[in-house]
Symmetry: C2
Subunit: 313 residues, 2 copies
Amino acid sequence: MELRHLRYFAAVAETCHFGRAAEQLHLAQPALSQAIRQLEAELGAALFTRTTRQVTLTPAGEFFLHETRRTLDALEAATHGVRRISEGQVGLVRLGLTGTAAYSHLPRIARTVKERLPGIALEIHADLLTPAQCDRLRDGALDLAVLRPPTTGEGIETRTLTTEPLTLALPATHPLTTEPIVELARLAGEDFVLYAASGSVVNDAVIRACRAAGFVPQRTHTAQGTAVLLALVAAGLGLAMVPAGVRAVPLDGVVFRDLADAGSIDLALAWRSDDDNPAVAAVVAAIESGLSADEAATPAAAATAVRTREEQS
Amino acid sequence: MELRHLRYFAAVAETCHFGRAAEQLHLAQPALSQAIRQLEAELGAALFTRTTRQVTLTPAGEFFLHETRRTLDALEAATHGVRRISEGQVGLVRLGLTGTAAYSHLPRIARTVKERLPGIALEIHADLLTPAQCDRLRDGALDLAVLRPPTTGEGIETRTLTTEPLTLALPATHPLTTEPIVELARLAGEDFVLYAASGSVVNDAVIRACRAAGFVPQRTHTAQGTAVLLALVAAGLGLAMVPAGVRAVPLDGVVFRDLADAGSIDLALAWRSDDDNPAVAAVVAAIESGLSADEAATPAAAATAVRTREEQS
DNA sequence: TAAAAATACTCCATAGGTATTTTAT
DNA sequence: ATAAAATACCTATGGAGTATTTTTA
């Protein structure tokens, strides 16, 4: 049996006339008769009762017509589905986010995907550190990740999303809150709150910046994740250096100040370089173009808005 | 696209290896490669990512495999369904019954069909007179009928199910109840209850029998259907002549007696002679063979049993 | 007798085979 | 170096065409 047979059968069943059906199918009548006979022989059942004046479906034919229509319709739908999937318009993308990226970038990313790729479902896996995200990308548990470069290991491709300066988070009671911009060297004797996890790229950047400024952070407390870290700062245990994006999460008792010379840290989109999932490519493209569209519309306005809100707190 | 393509695709998708899949399909590898390429071209999407060392399904291929399996399975099920329908093992048969046949024969018929043709659904249309049943058979509203021959009009085929003697139904208070067998001529002066409907074959037979015995039923009451007729007899309005099968419906106040010379009346199975529904043929065959099996097992036992129950009432 | 399906035959398009090349590990 | 898919080319099956016959309303 071939789809031919089903298509021909459907045409004959609909017209109840071999000649007209053949015409519809751009086929000679004998070829059609032959195909239907083949089909009937293979099914082991008559589909039509024919006289030269009347062609009617048998009960078996009636049933088979129903199944044939379902089959042909299902295949048509499947071909469209395949095309949409292959174009990346439909699918599931499992997106990993670092804690800080989740706060500052997830809303924008989710909105962009929803607007530009309504057929794509996002599955969010938050609070993973960069090395863990690379591992999950490689073993296929994640399709896409927002992380802090550099990535660990091979086979991961990245695109920088934004470069954020390291920013100072101070207890509201701290004397340095009076200054709008702080020199890094002035933090030499201060208590620090650092990220607990080894493998935190932010942590590494903070310590590297301090070294460059001529000191090593002393009397450090550690926190698991940004929420806890800010809470410890608010509690007055010490100060912290965090990427500017964290300013999107205002917290009572914490004041943010620019650092004059702490350098900056990248946020990047990462995916398996051999990933063949077109949905991933589509999401990457959507996020990238969404990013540049935002920049074009409001080059500095967004940053200003964040600054303003935080001056108030 | 042809089913070929789907079958080949499923094989490759399952083995993830063109060579082995080709072997399974009793096909050379290049032919398989070519067919898959054709399929991909028609779908406008890659189904596999291939290197010489690794063949993997793309997300679109994954989806299409699912649809392909569903389609192939559905078609296989459809071919089996078609065969079973064409063999009369599956289907719907709309069965019409005369009132009296419904009482005496429906249980046996229904049981036979259920046992021998579990895939056949019966749709029962009871209380139709013979001419109406013939019309319903002809216009396709009924597939099969249990009726009193002769049938009206052309194109109806019949098979006699049983020949029932006409039997006397008396009010329990009637003097004739003392006699086990009654001569028809003795009913000459009696009140009669007849079937109301014109077209009742039983009515015609009753009147014919009376004429043959030398009288015409006088002072007649009429009843719509056997249940009412027996109720009127029980009420003492008159006596009635009914086919012996009605004895299967004992009713307080009604006593049945054999008639010596009232003749008998047939019950037959009828269907459209040009009906191509194999389910109808299967049901006819099942009922016929069920009938002869019953007769072989208990030639007179059944009749005796009925007789006995009614003597008690 | 006329319309329509079935049969008889012919042909060529293409599914599938063989031999070979390319490619990735 | 080798396994496996792709490519090139050829063959032959069978799908479809034309001409004709059969059937039934």
